[in-house]
């Protein structure tokens, strides 16, 4: 028996370790905190390297933009002068839109009523796997960040924090195939689940077949999943798919955020008030008027 084991020790060990791997997978699906114990340690080791690399890259970019770029400045000056004139024209239109937007925000109570607070962080690392989409930020437990916090950028919802070490945190972005967000269509308030897919895409599922969903509809978080505050933009419907039978329809969604070019994000602290207040005026405006008022003016300038 011992001789048999010795002769096939490699194969037997491999089979045992495969079984262990399957058990670990099963355990980590059941307990999502399990992988985070070791991840924190790995992040503690890798995050400083990523931080140094990030800062070096920024320095190189700065040098390039500020000094090397000047070599061509004479050539480009005339071009810029003509562009400045054009931009001055369009700028006045943008200022009007910005002022109007500010007024609408105040009306909606974005500024005072919701009181959303967060920690701004720099993206310093990217996913080590092609199959799992994560990013690493330069803020961690020392800055009050914990697992399961929503992360946003200027355009919309980015994801949620998973593994957190003292000085860095990992964010599972919404396009990961293990991510799901409870959402509503902003125009009609139809509900559905937005899931990530391989290839950094989003898909709306479990939207009732009879619900009114159209291409171009904006999808926002519903706040019902307890992780993401209500009203964070996920993306826009780009195509719809209705099977001949079945209760639901699905839609392809274009993410609002360009995940490949994320540089700065904000981690929303827990126990935040929802963005869309339970205020009938605010809801009506959020659902119908905000995009209608702002968009045509921008595109029409």
């Amino acid at each position: 028996m011992i001789e048999l084991f010795r002769r096939n020790s490699l194969g037997i060990t491999a089979v045992v370790l495969l079984i262990v791997s399957a058990q670990l997978m099963s355990a980590s699906v059941a307990n999502r905190e399990l992988p985070q114990y070791g991840a924190g340690l790995i992040k503690t080791v890798i995050a400083p390297i990523e931080q140094v690399y990030h800062e070096s890259l920024e320095s190189v970019r700065f040098t390039w933009n500020r000094y090397l770029w000047l070599m061509d400045v004479e050539k480009e000056r005339n071009e810029f002068q003509s562009r400045v004139k054009e931009l001055e024209k369009s700028n006045s239109a943008f200022i009007e839109v910005a002022k109007e937007n500010e007024r609408l925000r105040e009306l909606l109570g974005f500024k005072d009523d919701t009181g959303l607070k967060g920690t701004v962080a720099q993206v310093i690392g990217r996913s080590t796997s092609n199959w799992i989409h994560t990013i690493t930020i330069d803020r961690g437990a020392d800055d009050g960040i914990a697992s399961g916090m929503a992360v946003v950028d200027g355009h919309g919802l980015v994801g949620q924090t998973t593994a957190v070490s003292s000085n860095s945190a990992q964010i599972l972005i919404v396009t990961d195939s293990n991510s799901a967000v409870d959402t509503v269509i902003q125009r009609t308030r139809a509900t559905g689940i937005v899931e990530g897919q391989l290839g950094k895409r989003l898909r709306l599922r479990y939207a009732l077949r009879q619900d009114d969903i159209q291409v171009g509809d904006r999808i926002v978080s519903s706040g019902l999943d307890g992780v993401f505050p209500k009203g964070l933009v996920l993306g826009t419907v780009i195509s719809l798919q209705k099977e001949a039978q079945g209760l639901f329809q699905t839609a392809k969604v274009k993410p609002a955020v360009d995940f490949n070019r994320l540089e700065t994000v904000m981690v929303l602290m827990k126990n935040q008030a929802p963005i869309e207040k339970e205020n009938p005026i605010a809801q009506a405006i959020a659902a119908e008027q905000v995009t209608a008022v702002v968009k045509p003016k921008v595109s029409g300038e």
Partner: protein, 169 residues
């Protein structure tokens, strides 16, 4: 001492590999599919130490890759074991000291590892992976790994040749 040095060099290679295949590659090519440096190290272990301890090493490397994703434990570990066994089996039948043989072994091993990962994602997490995108990622990742494998191995083996003690692979 030799074993300790091997472990230290390998630990540095793992940390460096995780950094390169994550942040480094994607800072130059946002959204690109990066080569799997950890898999290259697994192939290297399989070629250098086709033993019981070697398969344990491959398991640990895979597990570290799993920890770095902070989502699931097991898929990369299982994939690394399958890739290790494949390389051990085939390295006896090909001239594994030739760069193209190493590239070919790495290419197939990378595909095997990814397929094992995807099967585990599908079985345990219900991820739908039967689509063109998966094939694209699979192929590009394997191609990148196959291209880099001889270079990474050459780098690590050069160090070995300059050391009087050498590594006990």
């Amino acid at each position: 001492m030799s074993n300790l040095r091997t472990i230290i060099v390998f630990a540095i290679a793992v940390v460096f590999g995780l950094f390169v295949q994550g942040t480094f590659v994607r800072s130059f090519a946002p959204g690109a599919y990066a080569p799997d440096i950890i898999l290259i190290l697994v192939v290297m272990v399989a070629l250098s130490a086709p033993t019981t301890w070697g398969v344990v090493g491959a398991f640990v490397l895979g597990l570290l890759a799993d920890f770095s994703t902070a989502l699931f434990l097991g898929p990369n570990a299982a994939g690394a074991i399958v890739a290790f066994c494949f390389v051990v089996f085939w390295s006896r039948k090909v001239f594994a000291d030739r760069w193209f043989a190493v590239s070919a072994l790495t290419f197939v091993a990378s595909n095997l590892k990814s397929i094992v990962c995807l099967i585990m994602f599908a079985l345990y997490a219900g991820v739908d992976f039967l689509n063109f995108n998966s094939l694209q990622i699979l192929f590009v990742e394997a191609l990148g790994s196959a291209f880099l494998a001889p270079i990474v191995m050459k780098l690590l083996y050069i160090r070995r040749s300059t050391s009087s003690r050498g590594y006990s692979f």
